[in-house]
């Protein structure tokens, strides 16, 4: 009996001890003890707290937006990862970042957080990127390069534009500029319109190039992607015409010359008599603009040359000047098409020359010296650096030899025109 009682007491003690050790209540999930995690996202234009924080917005393609994510109770909770997506594609992996969305249309920006337990939490923002207005550049009046436009009585312009989002009113900034022989343009009209047509009632100069431009913006101040720009030419009289254009030298060559190129532009009749002539230097080493107005209509030859640089081949073109019109040759480029020359300075006029310690050669590009970087000198087929240059003179220092030596000189100019000569240097026999 005593044994049984003792056993019961021991069992009870054991049970109590076991229960007190395990304290299993601590392992039962208690909802009240859990801290819920929330994520929220918003957009703003600045980190300033006074800036509005929105979950949906309409923006222009170039707008900069700050995307901000908040995590409750704290961003420092244990997470597996967090990131932003736009229309399902990865966007960023920061809580807050500045970005822009360029693609027009509706976009869904989602902040996603995967917590320590693998639960996914997210918040979604809605973004509408409006499309820029579009101008139909072919559906305009007057068409580009129109000629014979009136100088009095009004010039009328009309264009077609629309906004793909279709809800915005369009505003048109219309400018009319007069081109001059210098690089500058004189602004004649600069106005903002709410109609897609405009009449300019002022007078214009005869036989002159004008540029008209339209920049379209909608109510969100989003401009067309490209400024629309067209040219037209005014007329004069039915017994007159005009010619205009510009000329420039080959771009690479220009870098080599400190001075601007001088050009002569001539108009010659069928008997090669010069009817009109103009000359001048390039403006800012870019181009020279010429203009002949008025000039009798007819068929002529236009010739452009650069007397200071004869290596530039003259430009020749047959032109037909139509009454009441300006012929715009646009841009002419004179090209250096003549190769440099290599001449031995000495008694020999052939390729065979007598040995000398130093041989002199004249290497030039139609009067202009050649840079050493464009020279190659070789002796018996092997390149050598036994030479030096001074202006247009090349000096080759030959080693003594009892046999004939082959001296090769290769040269190219800035336009990559090449010349090459090989001289036979007779052996020097000791006297």
């Amino acid at each position: 009996m005593i044994r049984q009682s003792t056993a019961i007491v021991i069992f009870l003690f054991s049970a109590i001890f076991f229960l007190s050790c395990t304290n299993s209540d601590d392992y039962i999930f208690n909802e009240n003890d859990a801290t819920p995690i929330f994520v929220s996202a918003y957009m703003t234009s600045a980190f300033d707290p006074s800036e509005s924080q929105v979950k949906a917005d309409t923006i222009s393609p170039a707008d900069s937006i700050i995307f901000v994510a908040n995590v409750s109770p704290s961003k420092s909770i244990r997470t597996k990862k967090y990131y932003w997506t736009i229309d399902g594609d990865f966007m960023a992996s920061e809580f807050s970042f500045r970005g822009s969305v360029d693609s027009p249309g509706r976009h869904e920006v989602v902040f996603v957080l995967i917590d320590y337990f693998g639960d996914t939490l997210s918040d979604t923002l809605h973004l509408w990127v409006q499309s820029p207005p579009i101008i139909n550049s072919t559906n305009v009046i007057p068409a580009n390069q129109s000629n014979g436009m009136p100088t009095h009585g009004g010039v009328h312009f009309a264009w077609t534009a629309y906004d793909p989002d279709s809800t915005y009113e369009l505003l048109y900034r219309f400018t009319l500029k007069k081109s001059s022989s210098s690089n500058s343009e004189e602004v004649i009209v600069d106005t903002t319109l709410n109609t897609s047509y405009f009449s300019y009632w002022g007078s214009l100069d005869m036989f002159t190039q004008y540029t008209w431009q339209v920049n379209i913006k909608n109510e969100m101040y989003t401009n067309t992607e490209e400024l629309f720009s067209n040219k037209f030419y005014t007329g004069g009289s039915s017994k007159e015409s005009a010619l205009m254009g510009s000329v420039k030298g080959h771009t690479l060559d220009l870098q080599a010359f400190e001075d601007s190129l001088l050009y002569i532009v001539q108009i010659q009749d069928s008997l090669n008599n010069v009817v009109a002539s103009d000359s001048g230097k390039e403006i800012c080493k870019k181009y020279f603009k010429y203009r002949f107005s008025p000039i009798k209509p007819g068929t002529y030859t236009l010739q452009i040359s650069s007397p200071s640089h004869p290596e530039y081949a003259p430009f020749k073109q047959r032109i037909n000047l139509v009454p009441n019109e300006v012929l715009d040759i646009s841009e002419t480029e004179l090209v250096d098409s003549i190769a440099p020359s290599i001449k031995f300075i000495g008694a020999s006029t052939t390729d065979t020359i007598l040995f000398a310690d130093t041989l002199y050669f004249e290497v030039q590009d139609n009067g202009h010296p050649i840079s050493g970087n464009f020279l190659e000198v070789g002796i018996n087929g092997k390149p050598t650096d036994l030479y030096s240059t001074s202006n247009d003179t090349l000096m080759v220092f030959l080693p003594k030899s009892k046999v004939i030596q082959l001296l090769s000189i290769k040269v190219k100019d800035l336009a990559s025109n090449k010349s090459a000569r090989t001289f036979i240097v007779e052996a020097k026999h000791d006297e």
Partner: protein, 236 residues
Amino acid sequence: MEQRNRSTRALLHFGKGLAALFSCTLVAACLDAPSYPDTSKKIERIGIFVSQEDISDSTLLKIHPSSEATLRAEVYPRQYKKEISFKWYHDDTKLGSGDSFSIPPYASSKEIPNILKATDQEGNVYKDTFNIISNTPPHFDEKTSPVDNDTLCANKRTSISFSWNSYDVDYSYGDKNFYTLIIDKEEYFVGSLTSVMQSGFSDGKHSFSVIVADSYGDSDTLQTRTFFISDCSGER
């Protein structure tokens, strides 16, 4: 005992009489009770129509100011029209009565009704506010440049003048005309411009036309003009 029976009998008679009187009063009261008002809708709608010269029964409510026009009210179902009286108003000013109203030529806006009041025999009033647009469609002048079948000496750079004109008697009342120029089937909205210059024409046959629309959507189309381009500059 007999006296007691008499009293009982008299009391019974009185009771019967009272019951009869109550019943009669009840019946009379029941007979005098008004029936429920008839709430069924007899008239479904009232419409206004315009008739003028070539136009009849138009619901667009547009008239030309140059000739007499008639407004007519119509009731549906039609059999109830006799039970309705009509009065035509311009704002608060009564202009006339009857199911139709005549608008004289060149009537001022105050002479054109904008309210119709329809009254039934019970005195119920239905008020309809409407707006009659008095507008004359624009009409093209036949004179254009280029004229039909014209031949022009031009190259692709040459600007050719296109001009046209239309007239609209409502112009002085603020109506505006807007044009769409169609050159070789290409449409150019040119707003209120009536002349433009355009280039880019190759040798051969070309055509142009113009559509004019006024502020009220009335329009006219210029009959297509054909013109021919010949490059006589000697460039060919």
